[in-house]
Symmetry: C2
Subunit: 651 residues, 2 copies
Amino acid sequence: MDTKKNDIIIDFEPISRRVVFSDDKSLYKILSDLDVPITSICGGLGTCGKCKVLVQRGNEYLNSPTPSERNHLSKEEITNGWHLACQTKFNVKDIELLKTLQPPQFRVFLPSELLLEDFNILVSGISKDVDFHPTIQKIFIEVNKPSLKEPFADFERIKSSLVSKSLNLKKNHEIEIDFDVLNRIPMLLRKNQHKITIVLWNDHKIISCEPGNTTQENFGIAFDIGTTTIVGYLINLNNGKIYAVDSKLNSQTAYGEDLVTRLTYINENEDNLVKLNSLVMNDLNDIIINVCNKANIKPSNIYEATIVGNSVMHHIFLGLNPVNIGLSPFIPVIQKDLNTKAGRLNLNILKSGNVYTSPIIAGFVGADTIGVILSSQIFKEKELTLAIDIGTNGEIIIGNRKILAVGSCAAGSALEGAHISDGMRAAAGAIDKININPNDYEVSYSTIKNKKPIGICGSGLVDVIAEMLKSKIITRSGNFNRELTHHGRFIKKDKSLEFVIAKREDISLDKDITISQNDIRQIQMAKAAFYAGTKIILGNLKSNLKIEQVFLAGAFGNYINANNAKFIGMIPDITDEKIFQIGNAAGIGAQHCLLNNNLRNKARMLLDKIQYIEIAADKSFQKMYAEAMYFPHINLDFFPNLIEYKEIPKR
Amino acid sequence: MDTKKNDIIIDFEPISRRVVFSDDKSLYKILSDLDVPITSICGGLGTCGKCKVLVQRGNEYLNSPTPSERNHLSKEEITNGWHLACQTKFNVKDIELLKTLQPPQFRVFLPSELLLEDFNILVSGISKDVDFHPTIQKIFIEVNKPSLKEPFADFERIKSSLVSKSLNLKKNHEIEIDFDVLNRIPMLLRKNQHKITIVLWNDHKIISCEPGNTTQENFGIAFDIGTTTIVGYLINLNNGKIYAVDSKLNSQTAYGEDLVTRLTYINENEDNLVKLNSLVMNDLNDIIINVCNKANIKPSNIYEATIVGNSVMHHIFLGLNPVNIGLSPFIPVIQKDLNTKAGRLNLNILKSGNVYTSPIIAGFVGADTIGVILSSQIFKEKELTLAIDIGTNGEIIIGNRKILAVGSCAAGSALEGAHISDGMRAAAGAIDKININPNDYEVSYSTIKNKKPIGICGSGLVDVIAEMLKSKIITRSGNFNRELTHHGRFIKKDKSLEFVIAKREDISLDKDITISQNDIRQIQMAKAAFYAGTKIILGNLKSNLKIEQVFLAGAFGNYINANNAKFIGMIPDITDEKIFQIGNAAGIGAQHCLLNNNLRNKARMLLDKIQYIEIAADKSFQKMYAEAMYFPHINLDFFPNLIEYKEIPKR
C-alpha cells in the first residue's frame, strides 16, 4: 500500500495489515470492511465482549473506556491497553495532531482467538460405503448427420444417439434439454463433425453439450455450509474420488457469530438478506476457485453441487427469507429438496449445472442433519443409536432400521467456546486435552499445533470438567469444592473464584487461562440439554427404549474424549466400544448425495418417516433438564458404570 | 408533430403520416423505420418489384429510375410518378433548395396493397369438440397455521392443503414450486390469514400464489404465429370460452415477406435473429395488451400461452437460430414440444407463467401443422382424408385413424398474390370471386368489403383460372387460346398478352387489373405442386390408396371456391360433399392445446407416428409435377367427373 505523509496509519498485527485511517469508524468496522473475519457473537453491539484487542501504540488518542468495556474488561486489562474493537474509535479532534506524527500512528494486536484464522476444519471422516451412482453422466456420442431421407432435428438426433448409447436412460420422450444449451447445439454439431459429449443429469436432462470427447473432465462439488465454517469437496464423478478440499470461515460471522444474531440482522432490513446471500456465494465461489486450482480443472467442468447446512444457512444460500425460523413456532419456507440452476443462484460452476439442496427437517434441524443421517446410515442400524452433531447448534438423532426421530437443542455454542471466559474454537493454540493430577491438582495439557496456549476449546472443556470432577475440585452439582478453594490453583478475579489451567508465567498472554464458576455452568447447561433432549426424544418414541450405541458427529465430536463426555453425563452410560466418532458426517452426507443419486430419494423418503420432536416444548423438559444439570445426573442409577462418582461430593 | 421552417417534410397518404426528412434514406427505409408494415418479398433488394409507390409531389427532386425500376415498372408508370420505394432516394444536393420550399416538399401515396393494413384475418373456424381439461388450475385454499406441534414449512403446509383439496393432483412428492414464487409465500400467507389461491400447472407445479380467492380470474392465450399474420385468442380457463381475439400483421414482414428472405437476413448477422425475435415479441405483447383491454383483465392473470407456427416462426419466437431450416436437408434445432417460462422469453403474461410450443414435424412442416392435425382430428377419420393448409407455405396432410403422413410444398405464395402481377392478399378491395360469361367473355366479380377493386386475391385467382378454362379462354396446358386472343378483353403490355379482369375506367387505379400468361404459369405451378405432392405422399404410403375426403385449412382455404379448386386440379376429383373448409385450423389447434392438456400428449405421440415425406426429394416428383401442370392433369382419367374438359382444347 502506498502511504503519503500526513496519512493516519494503523498497523494490525500479527497479520501485518496496514490501513490508512480516514473516517470515524470503530476498529470493529474497519476490520469488517477489510474482510478480516473476527470473532463476534453480538455483531458489534458491545454486549458479548469477544472482540478484545490490544492497542500497543497510540492508546492516548483513543476514546476513554465505554460502559461496555468497563463491564467486559478488568481494570488491569484496561490499564494494559486492552479494548473492545467495537467500542474503540479515534478522537476525531486529534486528527490534525496525528497527521504530524510518524506513521504508523497506531499499532493494534489481534489475539489469535479473535482472528480465527489458523483454525482446524474437519474435512474428513469415517465414511460408510456408498454405491457409486452419480446424477451426472458424461456420454460421448457421434450423432448421425441429417439427410433428406432422415431430416430429423438436431436435438432429436442427439436424443437417438443417446438412447442407443445409454442403458439407464429414461423413456425417449422424457429426455429434456436446458433451454440455454439448446441454441448452441446446431453450431456445435457442425463444427465438430457431429462428435460431441453430452452432460446428462438424472438420466433425462441434457445440461451441457461439449465439443469432442470430454468425458474425462467430470466433476461435482459437495458443500457443507456451517454457521461458522464452510467446506467444499471437489469430487471426480467418474471414479468417486475426492480431488481437492478447501474450507473457509463463513464470512457471515462478521454479522454475528450465532444464527439468532444473523436472523435479527436480516429482520432489520430487506437488503441484509441479499448481503448475507452474496457473502456466502462469494465464499463458495472462492472455494470453487481454490479446489479448481488444486485439481487443475475449470469451474465449468463442475456440473453439480450438493449442499447441506442448517436451515438458516440453507435459506440464506437460496436467498429465501429465514426470519420465521427465528420466531416460534420456527417455520422454514420449504423443507423439500430443491434442484436449482447454478446460474440462477450465481454459483460459479457450469451455468446450467444443477445445485441440489438436501431437505431440511425443521426450523432448527436442517439439511446438515439429513447429511448426518445419510452418511451415518443410522437407519440401517439394528441397535438403537444416538447420533449427536455438535456444531454451533446441537442436533440429536435417535434411530435404527425401524424408527427415526430428531430434535435440536441450543447447546452447542458453549462447547465451541462461546460464553466461556477463556473459551475458543478448535484453533491453533487451543488447549484440547487436559489432565489434572488428583493428588497435587497440577494441570497438564496439550494444544492444537503445539502452539503456546491462548484458550480452551470444546474437547478441552469437556476434559477439564471431567478431570475436576475426578479430582473432586468440583462437586456433582458443579460447584467448586469449598474444601479445596484455598489451593494455590485458585485465584480471585473480580471477587469470583477461578481455577487456573495455564499460568500467566508459562504462556505468552498477559493473563492466566482459567475456568470460572460461570464457565462450569455453561458446560452444565449444554450437557444437560443434550441429555434431557435425548430423554425427551426417547420418551416420545416409546418409554422402554434404551440407547445401545452412540455416534459423535461434527468437528467437536471428532476431537472429544468420548469417555469424558460420558463421564460428565452428556451421553448415556454405554461401553466405550459402542461410541463412534464419525467425523464431519454432514459434509460426508453432501458427498454421498453427489456420489449416489438414490440417496436423494432416500432423503425424501426419510423426510416422511422422521419424527421431529420439539424438545423445548415438551412439558417434562424443564424437570429433566434440571435433573441432568448434576454430573452425570441427579440419579446415579442412570450411570451405574461410573463408579468414581461414589467418591465425588454431590453439592 | 412539430415542424420547423427549413425542415424537409414528406407526407405519406392515405395514412396521413408526416415525417421530417433528415437523412439519405430510401423511402423503403423511412417506412421501415416508421414501423409501417409494407409489402416486400425481397426485403428491399429491388428484385421483387412489390413496393410500388406513387409520388404525387416532389418528383423532380428524386433520383432518376434505376435499372430495377425500369425492369418492374412500365414506361407509362414511370412517367406517371410510380417508383419502387426501395429504389427511391432524394437528391442530397438539392437539400438547400428543398429547405426553401413550402412544406410538405414531398407527398407519397401508398397503395393499399402495399400497406397491408385493412386486411381480413381469419380468426375463427369450425372446431370439432374438445374435452375441457386445461393445464392450469386455480385452487383457493386455507392453509393450516403452523404450531409447535405441527411446525411444518410454509411450502409443505400449502402442499397438504392442496392435496386435501384437489383430486387430480400428482403424488405428494412431485408437487413443485417455481423458485421465484417460493420466496413470496411466507409474507403472502401471513398477510392474508393463510387464505390464498394457488395457480397449479399440469397437476404438479405451483407457478403462482395470490392473496385471497382469485379463482375467477383465470386466463390463457393461444397464439397462431403466421409468416404474415399473428392471431391471439384470449380464453377463460374456467369455462373454455374465447373472451377476446386480436390480430396483427407480423412485423417481421418488414424484413422480407417470405421465410427464405428472413432466413437470409438472419444469416447475415447474429444480431438479426435477436431483432426479429424482439419484433415478434412486441407483436405478441401488443396483442396481449389489446385482448386484456377488451376483456378488462390484467396480463398477469394470463397463466399460460400456447403457440403454433411454422418451424421458422417457432424458432424465431424461441430465439433459436433457424438458418439450417433454410438449407438442404432443412434441419430444425428441435422438434419436440417445449414448456418455457414466460419471463425467460419476455412474453408479458405472468412472469412465471408457462409457454407451450407445439412440436414441429420437419423443417417446413411446423407446429402449425400439428395444430391443423389436432383441431381437424384427421387421425380419427375413417375415410382417407387429405388436408391442405395454404398459407405462405403449403402443407399437405394425408391420414385417417390408421395412417398419417405429411409433406410440404413451396406452393402457397402464388395463391397469396405473390409473383402475380395484380395479385394481392385477401384484403379490402381484393377481387375474391369471379365469373366469366362463356358467350361474350364479360367478367363479373365481387371484392372484399365491396371496395373498388385494386387486385386479385387467392380465391379470385382460382376462380379466374377455372372460369377461363370453362370459357376456353385458356387451354388445358395453360396457354391463352389463340382463337380468342383477338377479343377486346385482351390487351398487349410490353409485347405480352393479358386478359383484362377489371377495366381501368371502372376502377380507381390508373391501370387495368389483368391476368398475364406468367400469372397463369404461377398458379399452374402451385396447383401442380399440391397435386403432385399429394400423389407422392400417397405413393409413399401404399400404392392403391385413394383420397376420400378433403379438408381445406387456412385463410385461403376458407374463402376458396372448392369446386373450382378441384376443377383446376389442385385437389383430387371427389364429390363436393366430401370437401370441408375447416378455417384457421392451426389457430384452433393452439386453442385446443390450451383447453385440453391431453392433446399435448397426443401431439407428442403423433410426432412419433407421423411419416414425413420430403416431396421434392422424391425421384418421381419432377414427372408427376410436369403431368399435373396441365389442367386438371395430363391424364383426364384422374378427373372422370369433370366432363366439361371434353370440350376444352389441350394446348
